[in-house]
């Protein structure tokens, strides 16, 4: 990912940079003050740090945020270099629903204060980074968050103590030698170290962090840009009009975010060079591994690309170094460049963390991030959580967890986990009678922003009560932690559960895929499982999956194989409220999982059932029998008679009612229980 979602990517300006600039501060001063204690310490007052501070503040917790700079969001004071955020600030959606509108607001943090919405800070669809700095400042001030500015945490270590919540305290030491003892450490320092590739001649290269942003400095030049992410393209875009040509070189092929559905890949707003490349305007893209590369400077001060391998043949003057074009006279990079610019992204700063914390880098694809569990807790030390951009190893190249519009929800999930773990506050939930199940799901898939932004990472969970007569609804649970749901939430999942996720079609997105192919959308309910665009998917489990089942789930599945699955067919308007297209198939799915009839009935039908059957459908039991039946109006009654779903009892048995073909016969209510169908869940006693 390059400087993609540029502004968003780095929660906090690099603490390390500061330390590097002030080497004198690194050794701890001798003064051994008593460490100040905080239950929660947050590193970094970027968007993620402030978001966590907000939740801690609202819960009345003992916390402090440590920030190196004199104000919040200092990363955004410098980055992105060309100042345009590529996170959208969509101010109009045609809807009043504030929760829904957050689906299209990629910059705001979560709070109860409607004034703290980013649309009040910028009119631009792609806002200026300065507005983000202003916004974050207001967010910290208005909410009165406890941030210690100008406090550079230089060192973090672990102090074992039986009395501590997690068996140890985190000891933070700042630049003045002041120590802080923390029960829980929340690291929201972003990615702050520019990624550098070491190759011969790398000293001639300008870094993205310091390269000129004035196009005048590039007039009439041949420019080579190393990198293929948003920062590389952003840089190219800025000078496209004044250079002779721009060549872009990187190991991997370009990944277009509209093909991958990953906002960290190249966004269309930055890809002007692709246009000029493909329209034969001299600019171009090349693929090669940068570690094989060497750059030599000739006597005119121009740069030539060659291979490291050639340099190993002994010391020669720059002009004598062999070049690929010596043997291969049509080598693509045979021209001399006036400038080479490095835009290779950023890494997490591991250096301030003591070895005892066992904070290690993620896997091959995500080694720029610290390794964390799906609960955002470090694998190495309990009580250490990574938030914000730095937590992106969980969903790198998949969902939005590395960006404000994603991590604002994962931070909330971490906070909910902490509330349960340390304060016995169970995961918030609402409880409803089973007849509300379809409505509860429909409501969430239509408005929930957390599900929508953090698709396939955060999912809603429905926990069924005994006999499936009621359920609890939990929002935005980290779905990879499903096996540990009871511990994390403090809720019981003993009678089966549903998981509500949002997903793109399995084979729809990815680099190089044609996402605009003919016939790409699905309209029929029975084809819903072939939906390509983001759509709700509901998993039903009779039992909570085990850790093993989650870990060894089928490839490409976000969750283990369920007892049954339902896809709500993709919708062009992302409006899943169509009675027959969306709600009816969902009801049938739920009915078959629960082996019951979830239809709604007017009071008159319930009355008939109550006097002609020994059992009543749940809707009549939970409504009518509790004197809360739905009476209906005369016009609705007539519609019912018209549709054949209701009888006109005034004429029943009057001789003129004559049976019509297809009638079920007198006495048999058209909606009475149908013949038994085989439900998904044949194991009835479980429910």
């Amino acid at each position: 990912m390059g400087l993609s979602a540029a502004a968003l990517l780095w929660g906090l300006p690099g603490l390390l940079l500061t330390i590097a600039l002030h080497p004198a501060l690194s050794p701890c001063p001798a003064q051994a003050s008593v460490p100040a204690h905080r239950d929660y310490c947050v590193l970094g007052a970027g968007p993620a740090g402030l978001q966590m501070a907000y939740f801690l503040q609202r819960a009345g917790r003992d916390y402090a945020v440590f920030e190196r700079a004199p104000g919040p969001g200092s990363f955004f004071t410098r980055y992105p270099r060309h100042r345009k955020l590529i996170s959208i600030n969509k101010r109009y959606t045609g809807k009043a629903n504030a929760e829904f509108n957050l689906r299209h607001d990629w910059n705001s943090l979560l709070s109860h204060d409607p004034r703290l919405l980013f649309r009040h800070y910028s009119n631009a669809y792609f806002p200026d980074a300065g507005d983000m700095v202003r916004y974050l400042g207001d967010f910290a001030d208005r909410l009165g968050l406890h941030v210690l500015y100008n406090t550079t945490i230089a060192h973090v270590t672990l102090n074992k103590d039986q009395r501590a919540w997690n068996g140890h305290y985190f000891i933070l030491t700042d630049q003045k030698g002041q120590a802080y003892q923390c029960s829980v450490l929340l690291v929201a320092t972003g990615l702050s170290v520019p990624n550098q590739v070491d190759f011969p001649g790398s000293e001639y290269v300008d870094g993205y962090e310091s390269v000129s942003v004035d196009p005048k400095d590039f007039v009439g030049q041949n420019v080579l840009i190393l990198g293929r992410g948003n920062s590389a393209f952003e840089t190219a875009e800025n000078i496209l009009g004044v250079t002779n040509f721009i060549h872009m070189l990187s190991r991997s092929r370009v990944r277009l975010s509209w093909a991958t559905h990953y906002v960290g890949d190249l966004r269309a707003i930055n890809n002007g060079l692709l246009d000029t490349y493909q329209l034969k305007s001299l600019d171009g893209l090349l693929e090669s591994d940068l570690t094989d590369l060497a750059i030599v400077k000739d006597h005119e001060g121009k740069f030539h690309v060659t291979l490291k391998f050639f340099l190993e043949e002994g010391n020669r003057s720059a002009d004598a170094v062999p070049l690929p074009q010596d043997d291969n006279d049509n080598f693509a990079l045979r021209v001399a460049y006036d400038r080479v610019i490095r835009c290779l992204g950023w890494n997490f700063d591991f250096s301030i963390f003591s070895k005892s914390l066992r904070l290690s880098a993620g896997g091959e694809l995500s080694k720029k991030y610290p390794l964390v569990k799906a609960s955002y807790e470090s694998k190495g030390s309990r009580g250490l959580f990574v938030l914000g951009t730095a937590s992106h190893s969980v969903d790198y190249r998949e969902s939005a967890g590395g960006f404000i519009h994603g991590f604002r929800y994962t931070v909330r999930a971490v906070h909910r986990l902490l509330e349960q773990r340390h304060h016995g506050v169970t995961w918030p939930s609402t409880q409803h009678p089973i007849t509300q199940l379809a409505s509860a799901i429909i409501r969430r898939v239509n408005e929930a922003s957390g599900l929508y932004q953090m698709f396939s990472v955060l999912a809603d969970v429905v926990l069924l009560k005994e006999n499936a007569t009621a359920f609890e609804y939990l929002e935005e649970f980290p779905m990879q932690m499903l096996a540990q749901l009871e511990t994390i939430t403090g809720r019981r999942a003993r009678h089966g559960l549903f998981v509500i996720n949002m997903e793109y079609g399995r084979n729809f997105s990815g680099p190089d895929k044609d996402v605009f192919f003919y016939d790409r959308s699905v309209g029929h309910t029975e084809d819903a499982w072939l939906s390509n665009f983001l759509h709700p998917v509901i998993y039903y489990y009779r039992h909570l999956p085990t850790e093993q089942e989650v870990r060894f789930r089928p490839a490409g599945w976000p969750l283990p194989r369920p007892t049954a699955i339902h896809h709500i067919v993709e919708d062009f308007l992302t409006d899943w409220t169509a009675p027959v297209g969306h709600i009816l198939p969902l009801r049938r799915f739920l009915e078959n999982c629960l082996d019951t009839d979830l239809r709604s009935f007017y009071a008159e039908s319930c009355f008939l059932f109550a006097l002609t059957r020994q059992k009543l459908p749940p809707f009549c039991q939970q409504g009518y029998l509790r004197t809360q039946g739905l009476v209906g109006t005369e016009s609705l009654r007539q519609r019912g008679v018209e549709s054949g779903l209701l009888w006109d009892y005034a004429t029943v048995g009057r001789g003129d009612s004559g049976q019509q073909p297809g009638d079920h016969g007198p006495g048999q209510h058209p909606l009475a229980p149908g013949p038994p169908v085989s439900p998904f869940d044949s194991n009835k006693e479980e429910l």
């Binding site: 309910t525 009816l584 009071a603 039908s605 008939l608 002609t612 009476v631 109006t633 229980p673």
Partner: protein, 759 residues
């Protein structure tokens, strides 16, 4: 259940015959036993009735037998009446007791003897006789196993005509037997009277006779099920004949000549019924299918042979609320009569004036159905109420609703200045909500300040305009020092606010009232305005919750008219209902009889009530469920809803008097009355299956996504799949969507192809 039910029917038909057939002429040959036996021909069947006297009771049977003569003749069976009165005796004549018997002979061999009450009418006679004669052709079975055995035995050999009739001797049974007489050698007929058997093969509406054609002849694989076709029409001889004919006819006939000249079985049978023959040019399968489906009278029910779960009806709305709301969606409601609240206006509005707020969701059917009632309330209250009627669409303002603790829909809350919001807990309908709003105009309990005011309150004069909304007025009587008791009562009054009018009196002269109504304090007086009665109940050491219970129970009537709205309140008593069904207002004699029994405590184990079909037309549906056809009214029934579900009907030939009713109830209690019906105890299962997407996904990947398969194995699998599917992907991709919709396997292939293209 069906058995006793039929016995009842038999009784009825005998009575009917007495009336209409007394004077009919007897034309059967009357023979002496000797003469009769001499006329019997080898191989020929004869039904003979042996009787001694021409008594009126036997002549009823003779009328029926006489009627049966002609149809039986058609099947080559003769009918005779044998007179035992002469000197000759025969063992068939029997003694007095065995008078009522008929005998079926083939030649001289006795095949079967019939008590005459089994041959209760023409249909029964024909059915029984044919049933006896076609013993081999018509197999009578009682279990699913029998059916499966028969089915298995005939696979690849012959087709089966399987029928269910409610009882032997019914008109449907006769029709089946007549069909068996004709087709018995071609098809194996199988007959059952077991409902369970019919249920087990997945039939709906088991109350009626059914005939299935099992296509077993073409089935060669023994593991395969025979395809079944259900005959949709009622079981009459003609319908069965037509059905059998079409089962034989090819579904499609290819012709090369002028269509006018073509004659197929269907055309000969005049099918499709009542529809003129049309000649159409149809371009694709879908058009033909939809054309036929819309005109279809004989619908085929296919068994799940190819695991094809595409039921034809899964996309058809079967939720009455959702469907009616959808059909009514274009109605313009006068929504402007209520104030629409938003995030900005909500707090301001509900604090500025007393308000009712309806929280609903625009996409939720139940909400939208109730919105109509809500608007009706607004229409009724227009310009008269100080209460502001408002609404919030939670689909738009979810934060507003969440802040008010509303997470399900619909919810009605009342906001009054200085009080906590109150959720409305009554029926979601115009009348009950209106009542709630009206009764909330007064603060409950009302503080009564003088004895005179208390009397006005009890007589209903004080709240004249509200009396119609509350069947009772409750007045708590306390001496001024009874603080705790007053608090408990006030709490109860608050709780019942909007449902019952309550008042409180605790002045120094409270004894005037307690003496007048002969109660010790603390107490409550309960004024039943309709009956003009005032009851008193002592309230010593009773908590608010119990007071609520006392008032709720006391406001129940002793012999209420049961309605859709009030039934739940009476069902809470958990007693069997004694319902008097009446078409219009109740006969005062009947009412008096029942009230007397109530007074004498004979009905304590029951909830006596009556149902006015004029006010509650759905009562007809109930009667039909109990009796099949609407019985004459008024009619009295005991419905044991809570244990067993039996329905007992008070004999229609008895008048509803105290004595008769009491006697009947005694017999009922002693278990001497048989029920006319047991209410089905069926669970409410999913009405239809759901799409099984998991199976579709499995089918598409051609194997279950393995749980613990290492990466390398998966890759080889993918390659193998590729090899197995050599079709041209472009060709498949370019097919129009219409054809892609037809079958799953088709789509699955397409999916495979699409996947390959992406990988």
């Amino acid at each position: 259940m069906s058995f006793s039910f039929n016995a009842l029917r038999v009784g009825i038909s005998f009575v009917m015959m007495c009336i209409f057939y007394m004077s009919a002429v007897d034309s059967l040959p009357e023979l002496s036993p000797q003469k009769f036996f001499s006329t019997l021909q080898p191989g020929k069947a004869t039904l003979a009735y042996f009787c001694q006297a021409d008594s009126p009771s036997t002549s009823i049977f003779l009328e029926e037998l006489n009627e049966a003569d002609k149809p039986l003749q058609d099947y080559g069976i003769s009918v005779a009446k044998v007179n035992c009165v002469t000197e000759e005796t025969s063992r068939y004549c029997g003694s007095e007791k065995d008078l009522m018997k008929a005998y079926l002979f083939r030649g001289h061999i006795l095949l079967r003897e019939f008590p005459t009450d089994t041959l209760f009418d023409v249909d029964a006679i024909v059915a029984h006789v044919l049933f006896a004669l076609l013993f081999n052709e018509v197999k009578y079975i009682t279990t699913l196993e029998d059916l499966q055995n028969t089915e298995n035995a005939l696979k690849g050999k012959a087709n089966i005509a399987f029928s269910y009739v409610r009882a032997i001797g019914t008109p449907e049974h006769r029709a089946v037997m007549e069909a068996a007489f004709v087709y018995g050698t071609t098809y194996q007929f199988v007959l059952t009277t077991e409902i369970a058997l019919l249920e087990s093969i997945g039939t709906e509406d088991i109350e009626y006779a059914h005939l299935y054609f099992f296509h077993c002849k073409p089935v060669l694989d023994l593991t395969q099920q025979c395809r079944r076709t259900l005959m949709e029409q009622s079981l009459t001889t003609l319908n069965i004949h037509r059905f059998m004919k079409t089962m034989e006819a090819p579904l499609l006939t290819e012709v090369a000549e002028d269509p006018q000249q073509v004659s197929t079985v269907h055309l000969q049978l005049g099918l499709p019924l009542g529809v003129p023959v049309e000649f159409l040019v149809l371009n694709n399968i879908d058009l033909i299918v939809s054309r036929v489906e819309s005109n279809m009278h004989i619908e085929e029910t296919h068994e799940d042979e190819d695991n094809d779960i595409e039921g034809p009806d899964m996309d058809i709305q079967d939720d009455e609320v959702a469907e009616t709301v959808y059909r009514d969606r274009k109605r313009q409601l006068p929504l402007e009569l209520t104030v629409e609240l938003t995030e900005e206006t909500f707090n301001e509005t509900v604090t500025a004036s007393d308000s009712i707020v309806l929280f609903y969701a625009g996409w939720q059917a139940v909400s939208m159905a109730f919105l109509q009632s809500y608007i009706d309330v607004a229409i009724k209250l227009k310009g008269t109420s100080t209460m502001l009627l408002t609404r919030v669409n939670c689909a738009d303002w979810s934060h507003v609703c969440a802040k008010q603790n509303v997470t399900e829909f619909p919810v009605v809350k009342m906001y009054k200045e200085g009080e906590n919001p109150v959720s409305y807990a009554g029926m979601l309908g115009t009348e009950d909500l209106l009542k709630f709003i009206q009764l909330n105009r007064i603060s409950c309990p009302v503080n009564i300040t003088s004895v005179q005011e208390a009397e006005e309150y009890l007589s209903g004069k004080l709240h004249k305009d509200l009396i119609s909304y509350s069947s009772v007025s409750v007045l708590g009587l306390f001496s001024p020092t009874m603080t705790t008791a007053k608090e408990e009562f006030t709490e109860a009054g608050n709780y019942l606010k909007g449902y019952v009018i309550t008042g409180i009196y605790s002045e120094e002269d409270v004894l005037t009232l307690s003496n007048k109504y002969a109660v010790t304090l603390p107490a409550l007086l309960l004024a039943r305005h309709k009956e003009g009665k005032i009851e008193s109940i002592s309230l010593a050491n009773v908590h608010a919750q119990e007071i609520v219970q006392i008032i709720t129970n006391a406001s129940l009537e002793t012999f209420p008219e049961i309605t859709v709205e009030n039934l739940p309140t009476y069902l809470r008593l958990q007693k069997p209902l004694l319902i008097l069904f009446s078409d219009g207002s109740i006969n005062p004699q009947h009412k008096k009889a029942i009230l007397t029994l109530v007074k004498e405590k004979h009905l304590d184990s029951l909830t006596p009530c009556w149902l006015n079909l004029k006010n509650t037309p759905v009562g007809r549906g109930i009667l039909q469920a109990y009796f099949d056809t609407l019985p004459p009214l008024p009619l009295l029934a005991v419905v044991n809803l809570h244990s067993g579900g039996q329905v007992f009907a008070f004999p229609s030939d008895q008048t509803i008097t105290e004595q008769n009713l009491l006697l009947w109830l005694k017999k009922l209690e002693a278990g001497l009355e048989s029920h006319i019906k047991i209410l089905p105890a069926q669970e409410w299962k999913p009405p239809l299956p759901a799409y099984d997407f998991l199976s579709m996904m499995d089918a598409a990947t051609s194997q279950h996504p393995a749980r613990k398969v290492p990466e390398c194995i998966k890759e080889t699998d993918v390659q193998e799949n590729d090899k197995e599917q050599p079709e041209d992907k472009l060709a498949i991709r370019n097919e129009p969507t219409g054809t892609l919709r037809t079958k799953h396997w088709n789509r699955s292939n397409w999916f495979e192809e699409a996947k390959k293209q992406f990988s």
